[in-house]
Symmetry: D2
Subunit: 350 residues, 4 copies
C-alpha cells in the first residue's frame, strides 16, 4: 500500500479508480455561495430534473443518490413485491456485486437468472421464465426484469434487443429496469438517442450512472412513469439516501449534462478501449476475447505478461473469468499515454 | 421558489442549509490529481481512520457514509437483532425524522420510548425499560440504547449523564449508540474530551457527524470495539452506502479534522446561537424556551413577529412544538450580520 | 411442573389454557376418511368460506392460519407499506405480545400509539394522528389502524365507537383492521350482528379468532374486500402459514360455526366472568377494576389472597398492571364449579 | 370439484393428500381432558423434547411448528445473516416451493445453487462454492448449506455423502441444515440411525417432518446445538408460529414417535412405491426414470396412459419435468389395493 510509485501507474482495474471531471469539481464550488433549501428543494435539483426531461424527450421524475448500488436497488424495490422474482442475467451487477442489496431493498425478492450470450438476456428465454410459476402460490411471482447496459462484460444491448425485451415485459406485465451505470458508454457506442434506448423501447426505470464516468458520487434514478416517484422518495429517505445538502449532488449531475460532458467523457473512454484493443491484438500471444463495444475489454494473456504488468504497477483484474483472461477498463481520464504505456510494457513481455 | 431575493436572507431553519467549509471544498480538489483504489482502499481513508483513532485516544474502526441517517441506521443494525428493542427518547431523530430507517436496516426492530426531560433519556427510567420483557418470548428484547448528542431540542447530555446511561447499559448488557450528528457542537460546549464523552462513558458506536457542521456529505461511523467492523462493512455495501470513489468522502473528513476545523466550526455556531439568544431575550414579547446549550434555540414569539419575519424571507420552523414556538438553528456559516439582521427585524416587529 | 394436583385446579390465566370443544375435536375425525386436495383446495375449506360469507352477509375471502399472531400480522402486512405507520393502542396485543410480528411481516412498519381510555382508541386522537406527517418524506406515513375487539383489558368497542373510527379511516384513507381474537365474546356481549360490527362500520380486515374460544388452532383472516386475497395468499405461503393438510384447519372452523357454537361458547365464557365478578365483589377486601364486559376481569386483591390462591394452584396473572391487580380470564370450558371453587377459596382468605 | 367419485380414487399427487394416522388423531383427544399451560410449557411438549433427545442419542432442543416451510425457513434464519448465501441445490424445496420463505425469514439472504446429480449436492462443487467471495464486501458471504433428505426427486443422500458434505461445512465454517420433511422415508430406506444420518455426520439443524408421514400438521425443528434455541424461540413467536395450545402439536409428535410409528409409516410408504415401480416396469410403454429409493417415483408414460389415468380420477403430477414424465408419490395411507388399482388401469391403457 505504501509504494506510491506503483500507485501512479495507469489503472485499468475499473472506471471508478479515476477522479472527477474538472467541470464537475468546479460546479461544486459554484453552488457553495449561499444557503439553499435542503433535501432536494433547491434550484439546482429542479434544473436537473428539467434537464433530464429534455434529454429523454419526456417529463421524467428524477431521484439522485450517491451510488449505483443504491440506484439499482431502489429501482428494483418499486418494481417488485417481496415475493416477486427479478429476472436478470447471472452475470449482472445486481446479482454479483452488490452484496444482496436488491434482496435487502425489496424485502427479500428472488433474483432469477435468465440465460443469454455475452451477459445479455435472451428474449426467448426471458419469455419462458416470465411465464413460470405465475399464479402458483408456492413460487415467487415474476415481477420485473433488470438489464445492464453496458453489461458487466462490456457488451451492449442493441436497440432491437432492448425492444424485444421490452415487448416481452409488456406482454407479461413485468416492469423493466435498466442498470445504466455505464449508460453513457452505451449511448456513445450505439448512436441511438437516450429516449429510443429506454422508454421508447419499454424501459420503465433507468439507473443513469455518472459516478463511473466523471462524477464524484451521483447517479440518477430516472422514472419514465412518474407515478412511482412518491414511493421512491420515501424509500430513498428510509434507506438513508436522501442527502441533506442535495444541491451538491445536483450540481455534479448538472455539470455532467452540461454541453454533453457525459457523452464526451464516454466517447473518450470508448476510444481508449478501442485503441487498447487494437494495440493488444497486434502483440504476439495476446488473444482478444470477443469484440470491444464500450469501455471494457477482455484478453487472454500469457502468464508471464500478466505477472510482469502487475509487477510494474499496472492495475487490472484476472482470476474471475477463464484462465489467464484479464479485464481492462478505460475511463474518461485514461490518456493515450496511459494506453501506450501499457502496450509498450506488454510488448516487452511478449 | 423563484424569488431569489428571499432565498438570500439568512436561514435559521437548519444547519443543513449552509454550504461547505472552504477548506473542505479545497480538499476535494487536492485528492483529484491521480487515480486511486476505490471502495475505501485509498490512502486518505487510511489516514482518516488513524486520525480518528488519535482523536478518540484508542484504535477505532471507521466507516464513512454520506448521510447521518445511514450512519445511525447502520449503527443500530449491528446493535440489535430484528426482534430487539432500541430504547430511545420519543423526541429523537431516529424515531421521528428518518422515515423508519432504523426499522428498515435492523430488519424490523422496535423503537421503544424512554422518558426524560428536555429530550434527554432519564437513566432511572432507562433502567426500568431495560429490564422489561427480558426472556419473555412474546416481547421484543431490549437490545440497545440510542442517545442524541446534542439532542433534537439542542440540549446536551452532561458527562455524568452519559456515564449514568452507560452504567445502565453495561449492567443490562445493552449496546450504546450515540447519534452525534451535532457531536461537535456538544464537545465545543461541554469542554470534555471526545474520548470522555463517548467510549470512556460507555458508548459503543458513535455517529460522528460532519455534514451539518461544514462538510458536503459525510458522516463517520466510529466503532470503539472493532469486532463489528466486518459486519458493518457488509451491511454498508448491502445498503448502497459504500462509495466507489471513497477518497472524496475521506478527503472531506480529513479536512474537517485538520487543525480542529470541526471544533472551530462548532464553537462558532454555538456562539452565534448564544448571540441570537441574548439579543432575542431583550426584545419585548419574546419568551425564551429553556437555556441555549449548543447551536439551537427555541423561543415563543408574538404571531405578528413570526409572520413578519417569514414574510421578509427569514427561514425557521414553527408549528411542530408548542403554539408560537419557533426553532432557530445556527451553523458554522452563520455570521454576526445574519444574527443582527434577524434581531433588528424582530425588534421592529415587537 | 410435576405436581399434577396443582395443574388440575381451575386456570384463569388465559382462555388459551382451555382445551378443544368436543364438537371441534370430532370434526377432525370426520374429515379423515379419505384423501383430499392439499393447501386449501379441499371441499371443507370451500364450505368455510361460504359459511363466513353468509355470517357476514357479504362475499368475503377467507384465509385460515393456525395462530392469532399470524392472522394479525398478515392482515397488517396488506394494509401498510414498510414505511407506513400502523396506528394502534399502546395496550394492544400487536404492540405488546407478538414479539414484533407486525414489524416482521410488514417489512418494518412502525406501530404508533393512539391514546384512549380502557385500551380503546379515541376517535378524535386518531384523527389527529392520522394527519400527522402526511407527505413528509422524513416521517413514516399513516397507513392503517388496528383495533382490538375485545381489547386486552376485556373492554369493548361499541357499535358507535367502531363507526366513529371507521369514519376517521375513510376520511383519511386508512385501512382498518380488527384484531378479533375474542371477537365472539364481543358479539355475544354487544348483541349487534357480525356485519354491523365490522364492514358495515368500516372494518376492512378481521382476524376472526377461534383458538381462544374452543378451537385447537385456527383463526380466519376475513377480507371484506377480496381484492387483497391474492397478495395475502402469497404472503401466507411465504410466511410458512399455508397448511398442507388445510382441511383439518377448515374442519375446526366449520364445527366452530356450526349451530353457532362460536356464540354459545362465548356467551358461556362471558357468563362465567360475570358470575366470577359478582361473587368477588361480595368478598371483603376485593376491589373490582372497571366493569366486566366480556370474559376478562381485573380485581385488586389483598396480597395474602393472591398468595393463597396461587399456592392452592389457582392460576391467574398479576404484576403486569397496578399493584395487587389480578387478571382473571374465563373460557368456554370454565364451569360454574370452577368459578365457585375460586370464590370459596377467596372468601376463606378474606 | 364436485364429482366426489373422482375424489375417492387413489391420489399419488403428494403424500400430503393423505389424512392422519389413527393413533395421532386419538392422541389429540387424550390431551384434551384438562387445562394445560400454553405456548409449550405443557408436559407433553417436555416429553417430546426428551423423546427426540433419546432418538437422536444426544440432548437436543426441539421447536414444534405446524408446517415444513416454517421449519425450514426458521432453521435457515438462525444459520445465515441477511447478507449470507444459503448453498442449496437448484431442485430443492427451499428454492422452488416456498414462495421465497427463506428470503423472508432470513431478511434477504441469497439462495445460491450448487450442482449435483439427481437433485443431490456434489461435495466438490460445494467446496468450490463455499470458498467463493469470502471476505469480498461486494458479495454475499457463504453462510450455510441446506440439503433435502429425501430430495425433491425422491433420491437419497447416503451416509457417506452426508459425511462428505458435513466435512466441507466444517472446513469452511458453514452451518448445515437438513430439510427432512421426508426424513422418515430416508431413515427407513438407508438403515443408518437418525444420529448417524444427522449430527454425527455434521448436520446442525434438522427439519424433522411428520406432516407428510401421518401427522395432521406438525414438524419439529431439531437443534443439535442448543445454543441457538433462544434465538429460534423468539423468531418462531415473531413469525406467528408459536401455537398457544401447543400441547396439540406435541401430542401429534409424541404419537408419531410412540412405538416407532414414524418408521412404520415410512416403511409402508416406501414399500408401496417399490410395489408401484415393480408393477409399472412390467407394463409396455412405461419407462422408469432412475431407481426408486424412497416413496416417490418418476416414470415416462405414453400420453394416452397419462390422459386415461387422470380421466379416471387418479391423481399425480406431470408437466414439471421432462415430457410425459409423471411423478407418483405414496404415503403411509396408500394401500396395496390403491397401487394395484393404478397398475390395472395403466395396463388397460398400455
Amino acid at each position: 500500500m505504501t509504494d506510491t510509485s506503483l500507485r501512479r501507474m495507469p489503472g485499468f482495474g475499473s472506471d471508478n479508480v479515476a477522479g472527477v471531471s474538472p467541470a464537475i469539481l468546479q460546479a461544486l464550488a459554484a453552488v457553495n455561495d449561499s444557503p439553499a433549501p435542503s433535501y432536494g428543494a433547491d434550484e439546482v435539483s429542479a434544473r436537473v430534473e428539467a434537464r433530464l426531461s429534455a434529454l429523454f424527450e419526456r417529463e421524467v421524475a428524477v431521484l439522485l443518490v450517491s451510488t449505483g448500488t443504491a440506484a439499482n436497488a431502489l429501482s428494483l424495490a418499486v418494481l417488485t413485491p417481496p415475493w416477486g422474482a427479478v429476472l436478470c442475467h447471472a452475470e449482472s451487477h445486481v446479482e454479483n456485486d452488490e452484496c444482496g442489496a436488491p434482496e435487502f431493498f425489496t424485502g427479500g425478492a428472488k433474483l432469477v437468472h435468465v440465460p443469454g450470450d455475452r451477459a445479455l438476456i435472451d428474449p426467448e428465454a426471458l419469455a419462458k421464465e416470465a411465464a413460470y410459476g405465475r399464479g402458483d402460490v408456492h413460487r415467487v411471482q415474476p415481477a420485473c426484469v433488470s438489464i445492464t447496459q453496458a453489461s458487466e462484460l462490456g457488451t451492449l444491448y442493441s436497440l432491437e434487443h432492448i425492444r424485444a425485451i421490452g415487448a416481452v415485459c409488456r406482454e407479461a406485465g413485468l416492469g423493466l429496469h435498466m442498470d445504466g451505470s455505464r449508460f453513457a458508454n452505451a449511448v456513445a457506442a450505439l448512436g441511438a438517442s437516450p429516449a429510443e434506448l429506454t422508454w421508447k423501447a419499454g424501459v420503465d426505470i433507468l439507473s443513469f450512472g455518472a459516478t463511473k464516468n466523471g462524477a464524484m458520487g451521483v447517479d440518477a434514478i430516472v422514472l419514465f412513469d412518474k407515478a412511482k416517484a412518491d414511493e421512491l422518495a420515501l424509500r430513498r429517505k428510509r434507506a438513508g439516501h436522501l442527502s441533506s445538502k442535495m444541491r451538491f449532488l445536483a450540481a455534479q449531475m448538472e455539470a455532467y449534462l452540461e454541453g454533453d460532458l457525459w457523452l464526451a467523457n464516454a466517447r473518450h473512454a470508448n476510444a481508449m478501449a478501442a485503441r487498447l484493443a487494437a494495440g493488444l491484438k497486434a502483440i504476439p500471444g495476446v488473444e482478444p476475447q470477443g469484440k470491444v463495444e464500450a469501455n471494457m475489454l477482455f484478453v487472454r494473456l500469457p502468464q508471464n505478461m500478466i505477472d510482469g504488468l502487475l509487477a510494474q504497477g499496472f492495475r487490472f483484474y484476472t482470476g474471475r473469468w477463464d484462465e489467464r483472461v484479464a479485464r481492462l477498463v478505460t475511463s474518461f481520464a485514461t490518456t493515450e499515454e496511459d494506453v501506450d504505456l501499457l502496450l509498450e510494457a506488454a510488448l516487452r513481455l511478449a
